[in-house]
Symmetry: D2
């Protein structure tokens, strides 16, 4: 699910992980946890760990395995980690997290997944007030707020800092002897808590990271809830921010393509949700054909669901090259289509003469869909029927999911029929918003943000962004 330059849509977000475990080699735990969250960000990785005496942060650009060719020995008790997704216009080396600093109550480290919408305002205010920044990260804003917060203990400082932060985020924070997890009051980003076999606790963006460290999933952090874990175990505390009281806004995209299918988010299995998307798509459009295939990997589960519901056999129509990363050489314009072909090679004998049902997760700009349709036609497809596991994306996202420019969204200005013509498909169906809500039925519909589809933003943007 790596982002790459030939793709026309966002592929991931960041991931956070934390551990409090006096009995474990925590660097190892963080490593395995981050590794399981690698799909959320491949541009950088980092961890802060402590042995009770000293707190150390190591981070770098690239995959977890590249950043940590070997692990520090002898670590124990508290640690946090982060995997970084960086949009192409960001220098990943500047943005790796966690961000550690020494404050009046000792060393602190912070890692954030998400977007603080009033970041610019806060940063300028802090600078005017004498703060010196060394990174462009939101995590450093949090660190400065913590360093300057009044109050004698960390919990109070954290609450005082959170009062300032508006936006969509989950974060982990550590001191030398305590671990904190925070989920924003609108629950934009997932965060869960698990218990380790050695009697410790872990916090992670997704449950697949709990599985990876052999931990049992015990809690989904609630909207506007902070968990503090120290020698006394976890305590769950409410906190207040500018977003307190607004409607919840759980991200529908976690289910559509961000999260790993083996994760369970807020009580709903991602795999199950995608199976249902395929099922409902079949109910909605009833497209028939000879085979159901997917654009791998995010369309695969839904394709299996569509096949199961429709009785049309599931077949792999593309073989995906798994060795593609961010460092991929930029193709010349002439090589662009060849590049897509490199990543997705049609299996000709599965395609030739067949009427295809092709399941993909979304259409943003439409350019990749157009190439995909052409590849399938060149491989001899008799029909290319596209079914999409999300509604048309008509409104930009402002929270780090990258399709932030209204004018590039094909669905903002084209009807479904027009898009179908533009990408060259025979038929095209988008999952309806109601259908999507039904696929996610365990999650109350009013708690989910569908803003990219219906424009109903649940967080007001800061004024300077509107001009």
């Amino acid at each position: 699910m790596a982002y790459d330059a030939i793709w026309d849509r966002p592929r991931e977000e960041c991931g956070v992980f934390g551990v409090y475990d006096p009995q474990a080699a925590i660097a190892e735990t963080i490593y395995y946890g981050l590794f399981a969250l690698q799909h959320r960000g491949q541009e950088g990785a980092g961890m802060t760990y402590t042995d009770g005496t000293r707190m150390v942060t190591e981070s770098g650009t690239g995959l977890v395995m590249d950043v940590f060719p070997r692990l520090p020995a002898g670590t124990t008790r508290v640690g946090i980690g982060h995997v970084l997704y960086a949009s192409p216009d960001v220098v990943a080396a500047d943005s790796v997290q966690p961000i550690q600093g020494r404050t009046g109550i000792g060393e602190i480290s912070v890692a954030v997944n998400g977007a603080i919408v009033n970041a610019d305002v806060l940063r300028e205010r802090l600078i005017a007030d004498g703060a010196i920044f060394r990174t462009p990260t939101d995590a450093e804003i949090v660190l400065h707020l913590l360093a300057r917060a009044a109050g004698g203990n960390m919990t109070e400082r954290l609450k005082a800092a959170l009062v300032e932060l508006d936006g969509a985020y989950s974060m982990v924070v550590m001191t030398a002897d305590a671990l904190y997890g925070v989920r924003d009051p609108q629950a934009y980003r997932p965060l869960c808590v698990g218990r380790t076999a050695t009697g410790g606790w872990v916090i992670a963006s997704e449950t697949c990271a709990l599985d990876a460290v052999g931990a049992t999933h015990i809690h989904d952090v609630r909207a506007g809830e902070m968990v503090r874990i120290d020698a006394d175990g976890p305590v769950y505390l409410p906190f207040t921010t500018p977003a307190t009281g607004r409607k919840l806004a759980r991200s529908v995209f976690e289910y559509v393509y961000f999260a790993r299918p083996d994760s369970v988010i807020d009580g709903l299995s991602v795999y199950e949700a995608r199976l249902r998307m395929g099922d409902i798509l079949w109910q909605e459009c009833g497209f028939t054909g000879d085979i159901v295939m997917s654009v791998p990997d995010s369309g695969t589960v839904a394709a299996i669901g569509y096949a199961r519901a429709s009785g049309i056999p599931y077949t792999e129509g593309f073989v995906k090259n798994r060795y593609m990363g961010r460092t991929f050489i930029q193709p010349t314009q002439a090589m662009r289509e060849r590049s897509v072909r490199m990543k997705l090679n049609p299996v000709a004998q599965n395609i030739r003469g067949k009427r295809l049902i092709v399941v993909d997760d979304s259409i943003v700009r439409g350019t990749t869909s157009k190439i995909i349709v052409r590849l399938l036609r060149e491989a001899g497809a008799a029909e290319v029927n596209m079914v999409i596991t999300s509604p048309p994306v008509k409104y930009p996202s402002y929270f780090g999911t990258d399709f932030s420019q209204h004018e590039t969204l094909i669905a903002a200005t084209h009807s479904t029929d027009e898009i179908c013509t533009a990408i060259g498909a025979d038929r095209l169906h988008f999952l309806s918003q109601d259908g999507l809500a039904q696929a996610l039925r365990e999650v109350p519909t009013e708690e989910i943000s569908f803003a990219c589809f219906d424009g109903e933003y649940r967080t007001p943007l800061p004024k300077e962004e509107h001009t």
Copy 2:
């Protein structure tokens, strides 16, 4: 399909690629070709290219994308490339190819996929005769033979060199103005030729590399055939080696798991072959259950085939973490099972209470199968029925496929029932040798080596290896 330390069987071989194309940026062509062959080797990559004036070799350890963060500009006409699979006991940095050297008829470069069984004898003879080696590669042996061969032109030298070489190999060789491809007289390793859109030619281990560079597949190099491509186009020439006249010995493992499913080898689609393996497995064992799943990725196509034949629904039982490489930190013994879990996380709600048909490609030592069965049981499987797309591996391979030690092969000393008990499965079925032959029906059965299953080796080993 990356090899990793927790796996108990070989995952790949090397791959070779060559291009003769006066109109193209050949470094780019080689890059895309190697990238498509990356599944055959991730330990190293290299290319030799020329612009007609100067021949240059660049190579290094790691993935194609890591070795070539950018490409040399202005290259044209002739080039070869190689991706390296290195067994864990080899220093990859010493073994990267191609190997280039200056000879009496100019600069030459060589890349080999395979194993020359009389390599030690040849190397010692060459050293006794004054040759100085700088690598342990078979390619350097070929280079020395070429440098010392009598005869005024390259084609004669190459024939003279090949007379000496016994073994299982495909290779590419280049001079400043010609490209050669060679496939051994028993056809152990695949090799094919394609035509580029710019009127040039490419040679590759698999057709997926032809697809990647937009080339049309025009020829499968025959057993004991050499192709020479220069300004006059391709010429196909026979040659003689110690293996000439022996029975053909096409590798069954290319179809079982080495090759990419979108490749077509010697006229048979790998995807089609695997679908049939699943179909025939169902016919042979008739195991029923609630879902068919695979051990990804090599068992997936056969699982789809089994599902289609049996009517049992295909479901993904494991989510595979795709970010695992050779540099993975060696797990402590205590973390070993967790490491497998990191790579393969069961999708609990697909497993729980279900009777599973689990399709895998082979059982070599049995240790990983045992862990896989346990993971599935822990996730709540009601039954774990294993079906394997190849017969029991009872005899070691001597040609670079890594399971060369007889004593570690569980099937060498255990019956199928005993293996089933050892790995903890409910039922276990291996595809029969006849069934496998039938799955590969377009390839004459007498041309295929089943030596690992029936012990009928088609190449005598050099004497010193027998002692």
Copy 3:
């Protein structure tokens, strides 16, 4: 004059450099300036430069030439630089300067040579007040003070910051359009100003850096004076610190061994000062012998002076290996003497049978002197008479000159005769404090700190250091 692990005394301090020159390629100017100051610190180097639009800092460990294999193009107007001397217990990578940060009045960068004695107090106070530190440098303390200072312009902020700083330092500070140089009110460290051929200005620790960039020496910054250079040229301003009003305390060690002999500090040529030290040594002790030699390099000029005064011929007794650096492999205990021999190889035919007058700059712990005497005796010296260009070091230095521990100073507990015996010399003479003062006669004696010899410290240490 590189520090090395086999030496028993400090060899250098840091060096600072600044330039304001709209007409010059300032990165080049800084490079040449730092290169000329390289003897003051070899552990790291860095520079901040600007083109009026953007301010950038580059720094790293090692020599100027290693840190800057090539220079940024197109820089102009303002820049500062620093060479780092780091004591062995410091991680040089953490301490490289300048330190740059964004403040309420824009980007600022700071480089400091010296020691701020109340650094710990200030740092703790700033941290308690919410400041986050990323380095252990004094420069970052200054940066935080500047970021938090009240007042609308940089000059006022700098004055406000300086009010807080006690200690021995010279520093350079830059904004996007102005350069500042600051010398502490007791003038511990040198700082001078020069005019470039292109009409700009430079500030440097020593005049040899002015020579290196072709600048003319126009001013020695006075005690407690700040120079601001911008489009209007230089302005000299007084400022106040806790040290204001205390006795001046120019460092005698700049003349004895820190500074380059071709520098002129506060009106006195270092070369001339050292020549006189040799002359006065001869007048004081009258040691006769066959040759005068030095422990290179810092004893060489005084040895020439001694030879000239005494009429005894000057000869090189040691050849010094010039390729020794900080990365030198730590010798095993058994190899320690061989290591000194590597650095200093006696020229046997100059030594054998001769009565030597050996000039060295100081004796701190005595261990190296002992090895030096032994090497000379092994080479056949008939007599080894040591003359030292400074008085016995009886009191520790608290300002970064590294011999900060009282118990390791041999002269603190031994008489000259006892030291002579301990190091194995035939005779030993230390330059008297009066003799040293006379050698520096252009500098008023009451302005010079002789604290390491007589214990009269001119700066009170902060309270917590006394306990």
Copy 4:
């Protein structure tokens, strides 16, 4: 004595070192030996060592300390090393030595100091005969000759190889259990043997390397002599080459500037030889003045000699910046003189108003001398009288000392008076050839090559070089 781009003459040659010492940590011995020979080459360093089981070569570009940040442990018995001087047109990375290879009698390694004049002929013949080269070094030619030599033992092979080699060289060669040193039949390059404190033996280019490892100098290898050292100790053997029977041709430049002054070459102390050059210069020219100074470092000893003979005081007129290396940024044309000034800063108060006697080692192109004179005049010199410790260089050197182009030698086309005018000096005197011979009086004059001064080459050049 580092070569740098602003200098107009060669500054060094390569250096070789070898050790046979069953009782010592030989990597450490080689390291210290190479470190002492660092002045002979700073572009690269390498060593081959063995523990009796395995032979390993490590090498790289840069200084000994950079190439070996740490040493391999547990090495013993046999090893060789090399420091590389590379002319600016050579890629140092390709030329680092030793060169190791596996031959019919086991692993061998070779390091060469010097120039094999028939290298091109030999290389082409070997390539035509099937040899494959990987470096442009002469050492690899020797290795190929050894690999191909007939004969059952190493000594015979080495003799057979040497029969082919014409030129000016000293070399060290090792097998797993023996060390060889070879000096060409005309003794162009120095080579000496020492005994270590642990009962082993070392071979080195200069005696300063023996001192550095605590070895006693026991032998100067004779012209056309090979030393073999193994468990039986050293054996000295004659050998034959195309040069056998020609006149000896010891290099005068070793004494003039190549060698370290603390070395003793063929019975003559380099320091003593240079002192005498100064003495004889005074006798020959009788130039009077106020001070004698040198262009450091190679002119310094002769300047002391001149001062002692003339009674004119010796003073340092330049301070040399010791931190300049090959990686020095190439100055723009406009910065060229500033670059010289960076390296050599005049000590103004020693120069101003003085009549100077300036001692330098040679004048090749004259460009640097011209800058030096100008610098001194700018510093206020009343007179600049240059005295040179070698005769005018009128003929090019063909043996790696770099001034190989006749047209660039100023003395080839100008008289001494014309040169004096060209460089802007008041007076100029070159040491006469007789005077130089007298300074080297312990070495028979007929054994010394003065070819660069009188054109009497003692080795015929290969035919293709004459055209």
